[in-house]
């Protein structure tokens, strides 16, 4: 009966109750919309970076990242590759040779990192092959060694497809080496900073120009991103004399963005719950003050304080139970639709691209988040109704019957 009365009580002033319910629902919807968009944005940036150039884990010689010397190659290359080939967690491996180079064309000059790759291997790890203008991923070329430049570099050097560029770098013997490449295709990722300083050549060409037998980098892609840290630890245990980093270590800014997103998420949750709490406190306080006389009557005729307290708490729970699911369902539907369709931000495409984000954002929220919000909404409702309930308990029955309207 107490629960029944509580439920009926919230409809006494249906306009006010609906206003509160809609306000709370909109709060939850708005919060989740912002959170999902921000999370989707962060995830997209992270996935783009992982799938375009970082991969999940990279292995280097301990000195390579610090000094970038040609001779700092991976010692246990064969052992590492055997280990990786045997692991079922690994979905792709790419060995790379790198050279910090100076690139020249008839139209200009620039600094560039030459990435010597084996195209078939690289396809299993990154998606650069999908970002090509013509789709020529080292299949079609004659005589001169091929090179794939980024759109930015191509424009900067005025080097179109089929033009020749010259790269100079220091080889493994410490001598200057100069070599000519023919531009066979142009790539464009969503990260203009990456595009500006990277070019791709075939590993065998760079090896011969470099007079090098080893490799500088092993890029690993795992079947499941959640295994990255555990697999990295395993690799470190097996190959302690190498620099083994996850994508968080290679591109810490992505990890920071991820952490920051979590922090923003918590802040947003707190804001949503505070709005909910104040909404409920305000409504319930008004409800208690308006019903002073009735509450006094209930205490007079024998309804004990525990039951009066429970009735107020139940009223808040009902408000939360109506507004919470409404907000969550609306959010779920909207997020599901836009997770497939995407939110088109092409008007800000160039700005987004400069930070490695595509112009279509796919909102994302983990399902567990909906459960967490549901529980938090109910807990907040209970906590925020305590103050109005205590107010109700402090009423003096005879006083309220004598004075209240």
């Amino acid at each position: 009966m107490i629960i029944k009365i509580a439920f009926k009580n919230i409809w006494r002033n249906s306009l006010r109750s609906w206003t509160v319910i809609i306000a709370i629902s909109l709060g939850i919807f708005g919060g989740l919309a912002v959170i999902s968009t921000a999370t989707g944005l962060s995830k997209m940036r992270q996935n783009n970076a992982i799938e375009t150039y970082i991969s999940h884990i990279q292995i280097h010689d301990t000195n390579f990242l610090q000094y970038a010397r040609t001779n700092d190659t991976i010692n246990q290359k064969t052992d590492i590759l055997s280990f990786l080939n045997l692991s079922q967690l690994v979905s792709g491996i790419s060995t790379r040779i790198k050279a910090e180079s100076f690139i020249q064309s008839a139209g200009g000059t620039s600094g560039v990192i030459l990435n010597g790759i084996t195209p078939d291997q690289e396809k299993s790890v990154t998606r650069i092959y999908q970002k090509l203008k013509k789709g020529n991923y080292f299949q079609d070329y004659k005589r001169k060694p091929p090179i794939i430049l980024s759109q930015i570099l191509s424009t900067k050097l005025n080097a179109k497809i089929n033009t020749t560029v010259q790269c100079s770098f220091v080889n493994s013997k410490g001598e200057p080496a100069v070599c000519l490449f023919k531009v066979i295709d142009i790539f464009q990722t969503n990260n203009s900073l990456y595009d500006e300083v990277n070019a791709f050549v075939k590993a065998e060409d760079l090896k011969s120009y470099n007079q090098l037998s080893g490799i500088h980098e092993i890029a690993i892609k795992l079947e499941n991103e959640s295994n990255v840290e555990s697999f990295r630890k395993k690799l470190i245990e097996n190959f302690p004399n190498h620099q083994i980093d996850s994508w968080r270590g290679i591109a810490p800014e992505l990890g920071y963005a991820d952490k920051m997103m979590n922090l923003i998420l918590i802040i947003f949750l707190i804001i949503i719950m505070l709005a909910l709490a104040f909404g409920i406190i305000n409504t319930m306080l008004m409800a208690v003050l308006e019903r002073k006389k009735e509450l006094g009557m209930l205490l007079s005729i024998g309804m004990n304080k525990r039951k009066v307290f429970g009735m107020i708490i139940w009223e808040s729970i009902f408000l939360a139970l109506l507004s919470g699911p409404l907000g969550l369902v609306c959010s779920y539907v909207a997020i599901s639709i836009f997770a497939k369709k995407g939110i088109d931000l092409s008007f800000a495409a160039s700005g987004l691209k400069s930070v490695g984000i595509e112009s279509t954002i796919y909102p994302y929220v983990e399902n567990s988040f909906y459960y967490i919000i549901s529980i938090m909404v109910i807990l907040t409702a209970i906590l925020s109704s305590i103050y109005p309930a205590i107010k109700a308990l402090k009423l003096n029955p005879s006083e309220t019957l004598r004075t209240a309207n």
Binding site: M1, M297, S300, I301, G302, M303, N304, S398, L401, R402
Partner: protein, 217 residues
């Protein structure tokens, strides 16, 4: 008994010595501000006297803690208020049933007694109506049925006819009188309505917080 009104301490009642016997139909009369409602509140355990005691059956209610007092009221005292004070979101039936639910009575007992009481107050055809769908007189009759629902030792009614027209007042008084005669229910009510006073078999007159006369008729 004193209470605070602004900065002034008001002595509402003094030297009250009153015994109400089972089955009595007692009217407490007196002008406004004479202390009628305060006396009823003290008898009902809603207010505590600054001095003295109230004994109901064998219990000194003035010695009970707040929670015990609420429980005591639930099982021993029925209340009828001037402005009915029904629970607006419940039907007549639910309002009457409410106290029995608080007493954890069986459903069968509750339904049977609710119907019996609503019939006794002439509202058997209004059981599913809410207070706002009933007249003042009907609401007050529901309040009488509710007051009786918990099988109290006695019923306290604070000016029960004050908000009713003469016909409804008459009707209500007849019901209360019938319940008093047939069921031996004890009624104590405050009033300055002469019609109510005429029906009472004992009249206690209060003035300035003191009993100035106590007569039976």
């Amino acid at each position: 008994m004193t209470y605070q009104s602004g900065d002034i301490k008001v002595q509402a009642l003094q030297n009250i010595d009153l015994t109400i016997n089972p089955g009595e139909f007692t009217a407490i009369v007196g002008p406004s501000g004479s202390g009628k409602t305060t006396l009823l509140n003290i008898i009902g355990g809603l207010d505590s006297p600054t001095k003295g005691s109230v004994k109901i059956n064998d219990t000194y209610i003035t010695q009970l803690h707040e929670d015990e007092l609420i429980d005591f009221r639930l099982h021993n005292i029925g209340f009828i208020f001037q402005s009915y004070n029904l629970i607006p979101v419940l039907t007549a039936k639910e309002n009457v049933e409410f106290l029995m639910l608080l007493q954890n009575r069986e459903e069968e007992f509750r339904s049977e007694r609710t119907l019996k009481l609503l019939k006794a107050v002439g509202l058997e055809d209004q059981i599913y109506k809410r207070p706002n769908e009933m007249s003042g007189g009907q609401q007050q009759r529901v309040a009488v049925a509710r007051a009786l629902a918990s099988k109290p030792s006695f019923i306290l009614a604070d000016e029960p006819t004050a908000n009713l027209d003469s016909k409804s007042s008459e009707n209500l008084l007849n019901i209360m009188q019938k319940l008093n005669k047939n069921e031996k229910t004890t009624f104590i009510f405050s009033t300055h309505d002469q019609r109510v006073i005429n029906k009472a078999n004992r009249i206690v007159t209060i003035e300035d917080g003191k009993i100035i006369s106590d007569t039976s008729q």
